[in-house]
Symmetry: C2
Amino acid sequence: MRDVCVVGIGTTRYGRHDQQARELMASAAEAAIEDAGIDPERIGNAFFGNAFSVAEKQGHLGPLIMSALGLPETPATAVEAACASGGTAFHHGYREVAGGFADAVLVGGVERVSMLDTLTATTYFSYGSDYTFEGGNGCSFPGLYATMARAYFERYGATEEDLAAVAVKSHENATHNPVAHLQKRITVDDVMSSMKVADPLKLYDACPFSDGAAAAVLTTTDVAKDLGAVPIHVDGSARSGTVASLHDRDDLTTIPGTRRAAQAALAQAKARIADMDFLEVHDCFTIAEVVATEDLGLFKPGEGAKAAVEGRTRIGGELPVNPSGGLKAKGHPVGATGAGQVVEVVEQLRGEAGGRQVDGARRALTHNVGATGGTVVVNILSRRD
Amino acid sequence: MRDVCVVGIGTTRYGRHDQQARELMASAAEAAIEDAGIDPERIGNAFFGNAFSVAEKQGHLGPLIMSALGLPETPATAVEAACASGGTAFHHGYREVAGGFADAVLVGGVERVSMLDTLTATTYFSYGSDYTFEGGNGCSFPGLYATMARAYFERYGATEEDLAAVAVKSHENATHNPVAHLQKRITVDDVMSSMKVADPLKLYDACPFSDGAAAAVLTTTDVAKDLGAVPIHVDGSARSGTVASLHDRDDLTTIPGTRRAAQAALAQAKARIADMDFLEVHDCFTIAEVVATEDLGLFKPGEGAKAAVEGRTRIGGELPVNPSGGLKAKGHPVGATGAGQVVEVVEQLRGEAGGRQVDGARRALTHNVGATGGTVVVNILSRRD
């Protein structure tokens, strides 16, 4: 395997956009290519995560995006793994370079859904669940994660106030992120008094519907040297699955795919979770961040809920989680999210994260989940210079 | 790169199915795993092509299919490249094994659309075009390929009767294919008197809307030896793109992506097109087969149209094209089609193709096109024993 690094990143603002998905993706990709300083003709291949382009009646995004970029001959693949589509695109792009199939690869993800009303958007999103048994019976994602939250509360005695602390921490971080969708401080009271969307989860426990795109250019360390780039190395990239439907699982307080993917990625990186300087985890709901930090091995089962309350996961805490603001406050443009986590890590490791900078960050992990864990992608990146 | 071979294949019948896409795909995949005689736990990864699962309100097919197969921990990626989704899945699975990321990979594709009425299905399909400029303005795929046919007729003086000969040949082949959708002989008169769908193309110039799934197990030659399988070697697998929209092209009588992908795959295989014993090409319309045979280098520009008339592409002819019946008569379950081409090649190279067997076939090429050529995948397979 060849060593792989990220040499360029690009992102749109997360929020509401009037441009089509292909335009958003091309905009982030152009920024990443410019940031890398690479001749676009050296890009051998591209992967784009997207879940709901059907909402704008458009499939076959790969060649449409490459045509918009003026690179129509370069093959591109659209991958769909629900909310893990962007992380999956990154993973496959990494393997193209590591396996020697291309010296440079463009990866990214995009979503545009905010032109849909909330009910339609929730319905489209529920296609990522096992629709026959879950979404189609009214159990869309708020309900599925609420079911996990209930199980967690019952087993560990955690409370709605504990989850609220996660949201407060992530919103605080997002106030320092110029691309974040929700750049607004909130309090525990704000969360507690927000509308119930699926008991015990309230509106402020949930991520917003965001539009947006994020991109990265991956290459070999040799090409990175040629480009004069500060290489951010990919030390590990692994995936695992979990049985797709919640009703087929023994335990709703854990996502086994996260544990397996993290173990595999950490083994590749020859690292422990405690070696990370921060984490970008998949917090589509506050409960998801809590479960993720436990499954990743940062906290023991049942201890994750108190971590935000105690400030252990804030910037400046023991191990910052989601300095970007996370899906909760940076936003969740579904297909883009996993690629956007990588953008955040690269900005942090370059020391360019401004008011949300994790001091001296040298190594970090991204964790991207499709649906309730059917797909999990974990990537570990580091700065070595 | 490691040598890669196909050791197992599976397919459903092409036509109308009542099962969901995940069930169809699992059924073909189970058959491929059984055919390979491989322990399913040895499969490290899977890729599935699919374009329109939204028609049954279901995304995130990767883990749903793996869960149906009883392999929920094995990561799987759904790829979408319009009608080239299945070929793209094969291409990426090939690279997983060749690059050393997995010793065995499951690839396949699936589509289920026949529960839609014709107008809705045509509309969904048109999402594979550049919808903003093509499908959304009423130019769905029959219109786009009719535009190519008109340009071809004007340049080369070909006729509707020439194209009809392609359909007659493919229908004849499909009568010997037990999984084909349209197992019915037709005449040139039948084609000429069928309903115009987009002048000059008629109903019998077009492939049907099919449901179906196809799968293959890819592995290394070492594992193939362990399994005692007759390995069908992947000698080349390459992709290229073409600018997505017809209106951005200089010449409508050729698909440049086909030429580039074929040149790359033939170079990998150290072979010429004339070394192939037959071809499975992407004939969503009769004109598409004609253009493909020219772009692949089998015939000079303008000579492809007469080839079927002269019998040069029939089984027993100079170089048989689409012995399976092709998309035209075997059928076109969009996401499955490219994987199904590989299934046909493996059956032929094993000598198990019954009444449509190409005598002594040892090497063949598959050619799978997304939309009007935005994606093109070419694979070359051989038997070496």
